[in-house]
Amino acid sequence: MADAPHIQPMGDSAFVIRFGEVISLELHARVIGALRVLDNSREDWVLDLVPGYASVMVIYDTLWATPEDVQRWLAETLPHARPEPSGHRVIEVPVWYHPSVGPDLEPLAREKGLTVEELIALHTAPEYLVYMLGFRPGFPFLGGLDPRLFAPRLATPRAAVPAGSVGIGGQQTGIYPLRSPGGWRLLGRTTLRPFAPEADPPFALGVGDRVRFVSITEDRFRALGGEAPP
């Protein structure tokens, strides 16, 4: 039996439920399990339920519920949660790994004493897990990166990272859904759009999905509609 989670208020309109302080499959399974029972018994005054690596945040309407109401609801609901293994859905993400769209590909390979081919092989080998989405709509924080590719973020983030850029930030890898500032080390670009506001549903990846990167050629990238400098 796992320890009961730690629950505490975050200001006057939220509570956080913490299962631990590390990134692990076990804690992720508990997060997903808790999210499931909370979604299923959701009260009207719950404004949002947001999963993190090892936590779930409950944002509530303070005019309709007291902190005691929230604590009572959590105390009644959370004991029914069971860790939930994720990864029923595997999404293939085609990536053109190339310096023209992945400016950190060659420097990072050199830094790690790898050839570019070896780096690509290490990045495409694992099946990653979407631990959470954040930063921008649809931005997946993917765990499961080969430790040989762990790399600190850039000291000075780039002012504009193009949409679809695939990069490494610390122990995580991810995809920029929109053009935005960013400090992750960029390896290539995908044609997958993690966030397409006009689509239904607008999000290609959700928490608990599995992701596999597949290396594609420039021709394939352009055939799939990829946009890159000529």
């Binding site: 505490q8 208020p9 975050m10 200001g11 006057d12 309109s13 939220a14 956080v16 302080e21 590390v22 990134i23 999210l35 404004l47 949002d48 339920l49 947001v50 999963p51 993190g52 690596y53 090892a54 936590s55 779930v56 945040m57 944002i59 303070t62 005019l63 007291t66 902190p67 959470m132 989405l133 954040g134 930063f135 921008r136 709509p137 649809g138 931005f139 924080f141 610390g170 859904p177 929109l178 935005s180 966030f195 506001p197 607008p202 999000f203 959700g206 928490v207």
Partner: protein, 309 residues
């Protein structure tokens, strides 16, 4: 029926009460920085509280009414005038076809809200049911961007004008303007001196502040090099302390997660006050209990129910 944008002003966006509820997809709640003022402006023209309106930042736009319309302003006092006649704050107004609404000197506050009967968001692209403009994600509003000269905002058919007014002291929710209440973080990983010094110091709103967050300039606060904390969802009003020792308070267009240690959270009742502070304004933070925070919010909401007559 439309409102034409002759000059856009410094930063004018369509806002409503935002799109809370999609944090798990990384979608920011967004919406009006000062939800109280947005609501008052809407109520003055007979709209529902969450109708879309214009959020006008510091330097107002120049707008032309193509047809007669009922409108109201709330929030910052930006010297609004209709065809040169100064408008009394806290009242509904009637614009006749062809009249121009201009703004002048910023007298008080930072953000004014312009509501028109029936809303302004008919030209806006909704995302998750909200017209709120989020320029970081390019969502809502007119193409997810601030207004530009030449834009046209479609208006709803106008109901007959009704002379509504805010009947008593909205100012008190913004007093004193330089003190914002917060609830300290339970079990923060920061050294105790960080919280002590935070509560005892004055800060200035940095020029690098926007709808995502305010950066606060003041004394360097001690941060422990605890390494990277695990990214965790962030709550409304979260006060983060990045490694440079200068706090950031998260505002409407905040990201949904963050990895910096936290000092605490600004109470909901003081978010409107914070939204009305402008770049360079100074403020201090006073620690309160959850009970006090709830009481303040309930008083504000009770006032709002009877505010517009």
């Amino acid at each position: 029926m439309s409102l034409r944008v002759r000059k856009p002003g410094l930063f004018t966006t369509i806002q409503d009460l935002g799109r809370p509820g999609s944090g798990r997809w990384g979608v920011s709640p967004g919406g009006a920085m000062d939800p109280l003022a947005l609501t008052v402006a809407n109520l003055l023209v007979g709209n529902s509280a969450q109708a879309d309106a214009l959020e006008i930042t510091a330097l107002g736009p120049e707008l032309v009414f193509d047809e007669e319309a009922s409108f109201a302003l709330a929030g910052a006092e930006l010297s609004a005038a209709l065809d040169g006649a100064r408008l009394t704050p806290g009242h509904a107004h009637r614009a006749l076809a062809g009249q121009t609404l201009r703004f002048g000197t910023r007298v008080l506050g930072a953000r004014a809200y312009l509501a028109v009967a029936g809303g302004l968001g008919r030209s806006a692209r909704l995302f998750l049911g909200s017209a709120a403009t989020d320029i970081e994600a390019g969502l809502g509003g007119l193409g997810g961007r601030p207004l530009r000269a030449g834009d046209t905002l479609a208006l709803a058919p106008q109901p007959p004008f009704q002379a509504r007014a805010v009947h008593e002291g909205w100012e008190r929710w913004y007093q004193p303007p330089d003190e914002v209440r917060f609830i300290p973080e339970v079990g923060t990983q920061l050294p105790p001196e960080a919280l002590e010094r935070f509560g005892a110091s004055r800060f200035r709103i940095s020029s690098r502040s926007n709808r995502v967050g305010y950066r606060l300039e003041g004394p360097d606060l001690p941060t422990e090099r605890v390494g990277l904390q695990l990214s965790e969802p962030v709550a409304p009003g979260t006060l983060q302390l990045p490694p440079d020792g200068h706090p950031i308070v998260l505002m409407a267009d905040r990201q949904t997660t963050g990895g910096y240690p936290r000092l605490g959270h600004v109470i909901r009742a003081d978010v409107p006050k914070l939204a009305q502070l402008w770049l360079g304004d100074s403020l201090s933070f006073r620690a309160v209990t959850l009970t006090e925070a709830r009481q303040a919010l309930h008083e504000q909401k009770a006032w709002l129910k009877k505010a517009v007559v």
